[in-house]
Symmetry: C2
Subunit: 201 residues, 2 copies
Amino acid sequence: MSSRDQVPYTVLMARWEPNAAERLAHAALDLFAERGYENTTVIDIAQRAGLGKSTFFRHFQDKREVLFGGSAMDGLLTEAIAAAPATATPLEAVAHALDAAGREVFTPARREFIARRQAVIAANPELQEREALKNLALIASMTDALKRRSVPDLTARVAAELGALASTIAFERWSQTTTGADFSEIARQALDDVQASTALC
Amino acid sequence: MSSRDQVPYTVLMARWEPNAAERLAHAALDLFAERGYENTTVIDIAQRAGLGKSTFFRHFQDKREVLFGGSAMDGLLTEAIAAAPATATPLEAVAHALDAAGREVFTPARREFIARRQAVIAANPELQEREALKNLALIASMTDALKRRSVPDLTARVAAELGALASTIAFERWSQTTTGADFSEIARQALDDVQASTALC
DNA sequence: ACGGTGATGAGACTAAGTCCCATCACTTGT
DNA sequence: ACAAGTGATGGGACTTAGTCTCATCACCGT
């Protein structure tokens, strides 16, 4: 047994292990669910992940971001819209994007985790603000992606907005199902529902 | 001249004057425009208004809220939707609400002030988050107001969302005009444009 | 064994936001 | 006129978010 085995931090078995960001995100979600977002300190999160406060802020811009860092939804949606067949209408391209989201992000395996995350967000206005802004950014990205398909500005904006609404509705339905229902199918249905509703306005 | 004329704070001519909240809001907008939101301290704002930090937080929940406190848009929109003729379609009721906003809030006299405020918001993500959440709340309120008119849930939601989009677009157009164009008219046009675009999706 | 690189920790620092308590101006009742 | 009450305010102590700098540690190649 060399003397290195007794170096303090190595014994803790946390520093220097990989996936610091992921560990921090999990610790944060656990703590937020246990005691609430406001009763959880950044230092609490870092300690549970076996890290220090400095490291937390090296991985995340701020305390809210720890719940939003992972997804990379943006590129996924814009690429799916770009990859939609040239003959597709704007809303069909958006449907293509929601399909991709169902395949890559809103998978059955992640459903419970994502629902837990959403419950935490729903309980805290600060987190809802961050989510609202992220959603605006997604809509802007989808709008741009549609414009690159030569969709007129206003039409692109409306299609992106309706897509976002359909996505929100689909998410609500999906996160409540106990059956392992497929997000993509639910989203397609939601988009159809939304489109039908526009006619009744 | 009595000794009271020499009491320190009274000489400053700011404490105890009315409209503390309004004074704070104006001081804040001025400072944000001058040096930027992040380079302005709550203490700076309070000092320019001739008040203390405690008083600032007595009037506003937090630093962001000082830019969003006044409007009371919520009641205005919901009441206008409720007051729309019973024969009006959902989108017509929403148009009624945008009309009210043009009459009571987005008046020609306030155009410059509001545009200045919007420029400050556009320059800062923190403020955009707050604005995004306020917008979500407005959409929720309009949705509820429409439901109270016996509009089906989903239709209400879509109509509110389209109304919010039209409002955003109208606001963009209105705040750029140099002519004293009427917000209500611009909003009606924007709503027509949006509605026409839904058909092209 | 040596030095370089990248991730980390510790601590000082600023500002947001909360809380408590004393102070002040104004009002009311006597 | 005066005393007590009321409501708005100021000040300062306190906690936490977030920034920044510097030293330390593990790992990798030489």
